[in-house]
């Protein structure tokens, strides 16, 4: 049976002339999220709200919509036939599903279907009276009700009250595309989530260094992408064969600069791929001071080789805050699987924590940077990753 869900979107309602653009993207996002369960999802837009009619099972709808950025609230509605008896009884059911005792309430009716003979205020009055008659300990307050029961008179009557929070943010894709430097760790998937929440589409890139990292590590990264794809839909993972570059760095750069050299090469390669696919920025999971390569000096050394912005949405987060989000979005359990994402062989014993740029340049002088970049770019596998449903 077809059910109605009312979808409220907050922030995008504020965006003046851009609003139709945001709304269109949001509606596309909703459609995409629900299509796997129902190919004939119907959407209708009114002020600040979207009506979503679908035959998909309720828990699938709620799970999917909770992952569509831009949605602030989802209200699942109950439907019934167009007569006051059914409307009254359905209103009673809706109220009983709330913790109503001792609360104040109001009934609000809209009647787009004018063939229904009773006018909206009269419907509200009758429904309110029915509720008061059948339930104790309930009071009407039309100005500041604690519970609001909404009645919509369409080809059927739809009633709702519950408001389930959505993820908020902006519809995915309304802010362009960025390339994510994805490792198998806890941080980078969270960084991706933060950017996606602001409407940025994410295309991940992973640097694979077989045999220094195992193919299980690569499978883990693919699994993480499957989780991210639950928010973004199908995504393209770029897997760079980084082994040769890593070996060259290992052989020709001073040990304490290994990590910085590696990061700089990763950024150079990622940036080139980003340009190819039309991404406008890089995203990393770096958080200030977390490890030796994430000091201000080390970050500046990485930044130096980038011409596009590098977003680090976790820069001011504590590990514990990052873990909280990772758990919430479902990437944590995969991230902690024990296959090393970046082999410890190439972690210097005494990493340079405060590298000055001249030192970095000196360290890099033994490397043919252009050649190494080409080396990385010529062996990239693109994997289409589908959402984990």
């Amino acid at each position: 049976m077809e059910s109605l869900y009312l979808i409220s979107f907050g922030e995008i309602a504020l965006k003046g002339a851009n609003r139709p653009f945001f709304e269109r993207i949001l509606m596309q996002g909703i459609k995409k999220a629900l299509t796997p369960f129902d190919e004939n999802v119907k959407l209708q837009k009114t002020h600040g709200r979207i009506y979503c009619f679908t035959k998909a099972p309720r828990e699938k709808v709620m799970d999917s919509l909770k992952k569509v950025f831009g949605i602030v609230y989802i209200s699942p509605a109950k439907s019934c036939g167009l007569n006051m008896e059914e409307i009254n009884n359905t209103a009673l059911e809706v109220m009983k599903s709330q913790k109503y005792t001792g609360k104040t309430f109001k009934v609000e009716t809209r009647r787009p279907n004018k063939s229904f003979p009773i006018k909206s205020p009269e419907v509200s009055r009758q429904v309110g009276a029915h509720l008061l008659m059948n339930l104790d300990n309930l009071k009407v307050d039309v100005h500041h009700p604690q519970i609001r029961i909404d009645v919509e008179i369409r080809e059927k009557a739809f009633l709702y009250s519950e408001r389930v929070p959505g993820p908020g943010g902006l519809p995915l894709g309304c802010n362009g595309k960025a390339m994510l430097l994805l490792s198998g760790g806890i941080d980078s998937p969270v960084a991706a989530y933060m950017l996606m929440k602001r409407g940025v589409e994410i295309e991940p890139i992973y640097f694979h260094s077989f045999p220094f990292t195992s193919d299980r590590a690569k499978e883990k990264v693919i699994d993480l992408c499957r989780i991210l794809a639950m928010y973004s839909g199908q995504t393209r993972l770029h897997v760079v064969n980084f082994t040769e570059v890593l070996k060259q760095i290992g052989e020709n750069a001073p040990n304490e600069f290994l990590t910085i050299m590696m990061r700089r090469m990763m950024v150079r390669i990622a940036q080139q791929v980003a340009e190819r696919v039309g991404a406008k920025a890089l995203v990393t999971g770096e958080s200030l001071g977390q490890v030796a390569s994430q000091t201000l000096e080390a970050l500046s050394a990485t930044n130096e080789v980038a011409t596009m912005p590098i977003f680090r949405p976790l820069i001011g987060f504590d590990k514990i805050e990052i873990i909280d989000i990772a758990r919430r979005i479902g990437t944590y359990d995969i991230s902690i699987e024990p296959y090393a994402d970046c082999c410890t062989v190439f972690v210097p014993q005494h990493p340079k924590t405060r590298p000055d740029l001249s030192g970095v340049h000196e360290a890099e002088s033994g490397l043919d940077v252009g050649e190494l970049k080409e080396q990385g770019l010529k062996d990239i596998e693109i994997i289409n990753v589908y959402p984990h449903i």
């Binding site: 077989f210 045999p211 052989e251």
Partner: protein, 384 residues
């Protein structure tokens, strides 16, 4: 690309004749051995045949063989079953520090239940010391469990001497032997003299996974850990895994028909591999005894990391393991190599090569060649 599977102590390819027998049982003789009708009787007959094969391979009586789901269950059943059954006679147990986790972890669990456990140390080649065993035995000792062949380094324990030492001290002390890596690979003690319980597994000897057996000497009473329909005379309830049982029987028959030939064939391959490594790879360190089981060889390559080396070999079609497959998943170190007194670097860089009689001498030469190249390449990065 050439494929060389040198991980046969993790698990093996199923023999064609065993796979066929399994298929036939699944599609034709699918009756339940406990059923009263003809289909049941046919199945029971097949089961009796398989039991007979295992019994004669072990040189014991058919009714002393109980089928289980594999080595882990056999070890659990033997150790818990014996310990619980004898609890009133004493609460001291003995085992060694280099047992498989399916033995060690059972003892750890029993310790939590109040049993006292002595863990026998091993020497640098991975052998327990009979004198230490004698000293550990007390009038309270009800069970001793020692493995026949160590799964990581291939040391063959002095089972005969251990059995004698135990029984000299107290005839009622039970002796369990985990023979998962020995059964079908080497000749076991005739008639399993003075052994009361012995575990074996199918998938190490070219039978399918999910089947194993426990030998329980006639007259020895152990308590079941699975209760139910009373199959296997109540020691192991649950409908018998007839396809597995028949597969185990067929594979065991082939192994025992060829045991002497295969043993010498694998010994030669092992020697070729060992000599090749010692000759071609500087600073390679042999872990465990130079002789020992014919199918297990363990080396450390200091200045590399076992796991990276494993992946580098994999890329060239050669499959090995670090430590044992069971411990390699934990990302931890091998408790066996630690017990042998190996350094951190040696523990980190160890690989286990485990052979089958189907490997060719040229496979070994290829392995040595590739290993030489990969070890040298890795050492450029790791050793600084």
């Amino acid at each position: 690309m050439k494929q060389v599977y040198l991980d046969n102590s993790s698990t093996t390819k199923v023999l064609d004749e065993a796979a066929k027998a399994v298929f036939d049982v699944m599609t034709e003789n699918y009756g339940n051995p406990s059923s009263l009708h003809k289909k049941g009787i046919e199945s029971e007959k097949l089961m009796r045949q398989a039991r007979g094969i295992i019994a004669s391979a072990l040189d014991v009586n058919s009714k002393e063989i109980y089928f289980t789901s594999g080595g882990t269950e056999s070890n659990n059943l033997a150790i818990k079953g014996a310990a619980y059954s004898l609890r009133r006679k004493g609460n001291h147990l003995i085992t060694s520090t280099i047992e498989h986790p399916s033995v060690l972890e059972v003892f750890r669990a029993l310790e939590k239940e109040g049993f006292k456990v002595t863990y026998l140390r091993v020497d640098k080649d991975g052998f327990v010391d009979i004198e230490e065993l004698k000293e550990a035995l007390t009038p309270e000792t009800v069970l001793v469990s020692i493995m026949y062949v160590n799964n990581e380094v291939g040391s063959i324990q002095p089972i005969k001497d251990a059995a004698k030492a135990i029984k000299d001290q107290n005839k009622d002390t039970l002796f369990h032997v985990d023979a998962v890596q020995a059964f079908g690979k080497i000749h076991l003690i005739q008639g399993l003299k003075d052994i009361d319980l012995l575990s074996l597994s199918g998938h190490k000897i070219y039978a399918p996974k999910g089947i194993g057996a426990l030998f329980v000497r006639d007259g020895v009473r152990i308590l079941p850990i699975l209760h139910g329909g009373g199959q296997e005379t109540g020691i192991r309830s649950g409908t018998e895994n007839l396809p597995g049982i028949v597969g185990l029987g067929v594979a065991a028959e082939t192994c025992f028909k060829n045991i002497s030939e295969w043993q010498s064939k694998m010994s030669e391959l092992k020697k070729r591999l060992m000599d090749g490594i010692l000759k071609e790879i500087p600073d390679a360190v042999l872990n465990g005894p130079a002789l020992g089981a014919p199918h297990i060889l363990n080396f450390s390559f200091p200045g590399t990391r076992g796991e990276i080396l494993l992946h580098a070999l994999e890329a060239k079609g050669i499959y090995v393991s670090t430590g044992s497959a069971c411990s390699s998943h934990k990302g931890g170190k091998s408790h066996v190599l630690a017990a042998l007194g190996k350094s951190h670097d040696e523990q980190d860089s160890a690989l286990r090569f485990s052979l089958s009689p189907y490997i060719l001498p040229e496979d070994i030469d290829y392995t040595v060649r590739v290993l030489g190249i990969e070890v040298a390449e890795l050492r450029k990065f790791v050793r600084r």
